[in-house]
Amino acid sequence: MIPISHVLIYSVILFSIGVLGVLIRRNALIMLMSLELMMNAANVNLIAFSRYLDNVAGQVFAIFVMCVAASEVAIGLAIAVALYRNKNSIQIDHFNELKG
């Protein structure tokens, strides 16, 4: 059986890749995808702990996260389409309207 620590390290790597993707990439779609990675890293953690503790609640929670992620992608893509219509681009550095 694979020890939980390996799974956790895997999850950390996956999460870090997601974080880096969000922080570094300029493409909004890639960023959304990186976001999915981060959520999936969390899901891996949830499932790993569920198995480790022998409690099914974690797996149920992972299902909920995936649902939320799906709906979030639907909203995220809708936002991406709206952004594209505004600026004819989805390169995120064209959108700095929050600047002080």
Binding site: V19, V22, L23, I24, F95, N96, L98, K99, G100
Partner: protein
Amino acid sequence: MFMKYIWLVPLFPFIGTFINGLVGRKRFSKKTVAAIANTTVALSFILMVLSVFELAKLPAEARNVTVHLFDWINVGAAHISNNLNAVFNVAWEFKLDPLSAVMGLVVTGVGFVIHIYSIGYMWEEEGFARYFAYLNLFMGSMLILVLGGNYLMMFIGWEGVGLCSYLLIGYYFDKKFASDAGKKAFIVNRVGDFGFVIGLMFIFVAFGSLNFDQVFSRVAEVYQMGFNYGNWHISGQMLFNIIGVCLFIGATGKSAQIPLYVWLPDAMAGPTPVSALIHAATMVTSGLYMIARSSAIYSNAPIALMVVGLVGATTALFSAIIGTAQYDIKKVLAYSTVSQLGYMFMAMGAAAYWAGIFHVMTHAFFKACLFLGSGSIIHAMHHAYHKTNEHHKDPQDMRNMGGLRKLMPTTYWTFLIATLAIAGIPGFSGFFSKDEILWKNAEMALVYGHKIYWFYWLLGAIAAGFTAFYMFRLVFMTFFGEFKGTEEEKKHIHESPKVMTWPLIILAAGALLGGYLGFPQLLGKYLGHIPNMLEEWLEPALRHPHFLRATHHASEAVEFGFMGLSILIALIGIGIAYLFYIKRPDLPEKFVNTFSGVFHVVHNKFFVDEIYEAMFVQATKNLGTYLWGFDVWVVDGIVNGARHFTIMVSEASGYFDRIVVDGLVNIVGQTVEGIGYLFRRVQTGYVQTYAFVMALGFIVLIGYYIFR
């Protein structure tokens, strides 16, 4: 019934002024203007004559009519001399008595003749209506002066004629010398008026009134009491002397006596009829009239009388001497006027007021005639020069004339009659009045024992000789000998038109016959009891001094002797003139060359004008310059200093405001801005940055939990 309307006499000319002055120039033709101006004066003359006839019908002591029109100034009670509570109450009132009747007749009569003459003389002048408006204004003022019932009314007329003399002398206002002469007349008169006003104040303070009747009725009372104010006391006689001298200072201004005579010769810059009217017949006699009117005061003031006599006698001789060395025909007549006025004051000084008024009257006739005659000559000469285009020649210079006797016979004969009158030839009016004056002065010395009057008599007698000389010099130079101009000019010299010669004839008749109104009693006794009408007529209006006490009577032989002496002096004067200008025409030049220094001084009028210029005019100008300097440096300095000071203060205040106050405010702002600048950098607007910061925060937090 005419006497009630005596106030219309001055009013008529004012109406003329009003009409001609307002609309005459634009609306009326010259004929209408002349008709209006002459009609108004004629109406005054007619009314004057009618009133005087009515006055003459009254008994002698009742010949004093006052017409009260309305109250004018009515100021509350004032506490003045002698514990007298007086009210300054002046009414607009007119007085007709023998004195104002004579003066009024002379003014309106001679004035009317001169008005007629003016039509011809001024016909081609610009400002015809303006001239007649001024002339009427002058007549009105003079009549107020003469007919006014109190001293203040007299003063109104007094100032009115002063103004009119300024306007008329400066009539040719586009010529500098004429406007200067106008100013000179006005300013010199103001100096005299100052004395007059002070005299009036003394009169009010001493008598408590300015009304003639009230003042003169209190003379005896005031003479007794003198002047008391608190502890201050002046004797009656002294008070009267002061008043007399003050009034006389006014008279020296108007009547052109030393030292204020300088304006009259310059006044010849005005049109010639003006010279005749103002400077021979009317305005200059107002000083005489005023003294005669105040005879009640002068008769109690021996020192004032002596001053009057001295100034009169000196002026008579002084200006007669100047008259001998003038070449301008009008200047000769001007100095002659000053000299004759001196005679009149000599008469006043000897308390022979009636003789002075007598000379005023005869002088009005013969001097007006002389002036108008000279105007006729100037008119002709001017005309001749105009026709021959000789514009540079002076039509008033006697050296350009000569031989006019045959060219202008009417002018010549009338002029000769007037000259004989002024020279004092028996039978002509001037003889009677001038001889009377000289005799009255001699009488003062001889009969009343005032020795100083011998001196006055001597001055007067010498002046009479000079008068005869310079007047005949004038006649010989202008009318006799050969015409000094070119033949071409001679052709153009004509007798003046009828409108100018008739006045000459009328005035010459006056000069010839006027003297018989005051026929000397001495001669009258021997020549079929001819009465001295003028003296009798004036008697009630004039007061005679009580301080004169006869030491003895002068015999008739003495009086005849003096009369003979004055005839002799006149004949000597004429004889010298004849010798110089007819018999030996080379003599005057020799005389001038031999005594060039003396001649130079006399010809330049003893440099009196220059002395005045240096003493008063220049001093006044210097004072003006100093005051101007004070104004510029001190007053303006203070004002400008205040300005500079204010500017400086406000600049300092401005700096403080900008640097300190604004500086503090800006420092606060900049500090906040600088801090904000620091933190603004964080706000890139990129979501990624925010996320990065958040992640960094997590890492730090995690690091903190790991490594604590």
